[in-house]
Symmetry: C2
Subunit: 135 residues, 2 copies
């Protein structure tokens, strides 16, 4: 629970994975493609337990943005929290701009609530809570 | 040893500290001003142990860059390693561009070697090793 990782955008997934694994000693701990045209590789430092995610989007993906757009290299910070809806509402009430509205979806039998606000510098901050689906 | 934290630049340190502590539940675990005009606040999530550093530079500081310059919001990723010189040389030999040359300095009785290379997307990646000073 809490800050889970930092996500950065990459231009070439292969080059970036090689740099951070062979060059910097991180280990690949996950690979996902949650939506078409999106690739995520999760890396962890086995010693410090710090995690970063590498994010790549194809040109046709709805999350795609041209490289070198302001703030894009730092994709987002992700917080796994107990009640994403409650914290999202509290942050928005306190003045945080909405980056992506809170929405619910299901993945592999887990119900997920997720939304994004912007921090004081426009950096996307994700809130996610998970619960097992009934049945 | 290894990936220590992600550092992001901030426009207003007070606003960003409030957002990440009161808003997001992180704790302040350190504050430093290594060079004139530079302020660093280290934040940790006590549950996941993930760390981020907030970085602020005054207009006169040599590290200052205008806000919204490419890649500036993500200040750098920092790796604490056994031998910064060796790894720096290896990365540069393998083609990583130099962002800040490896240099040695002393802080509070500790000898520090530190340098920065650029990852495949131009993000600054820091290498730091520390050893106790003699005497």
């Amino acid at each position: 629970m809490g800050l889970a990782y930092t996500s950065i955008r990459v231009k070439d997934m292969g080059k970036s994975v090689r740099f951070y694994t062979r060059g910097m000693g991180l280990k690949v701990v996950g690979k996902r493609s949650p939506i078409p045209g999106e690739e995520i590789v999760s890396l962890e430092d086995k010693s410090t337990k710090q995690r970063i995610n590498l994010m790549w989007y194809s040109r046709g993906c709805r999350m795609y943005a041209p490289w070198k757009q302001d703030g894009v290299e730092l994709d987002h910070l992700m917080f796994v929290v107990k009640d994403a809806k409650r914290q999202y509402k509290a942050l928005v009430s306190a003045g945080a701009p909405v980056a992506m509205e809170l929405h619910d979806f299901e993945r592999e039998g887990t119900k997920i609530s997720m939304g994004f606000v912007k921090d004081p510098n426009g950096i996307w901050v994700g809130l996610r809570s998970e619960s097992k689906s009934r049945g």
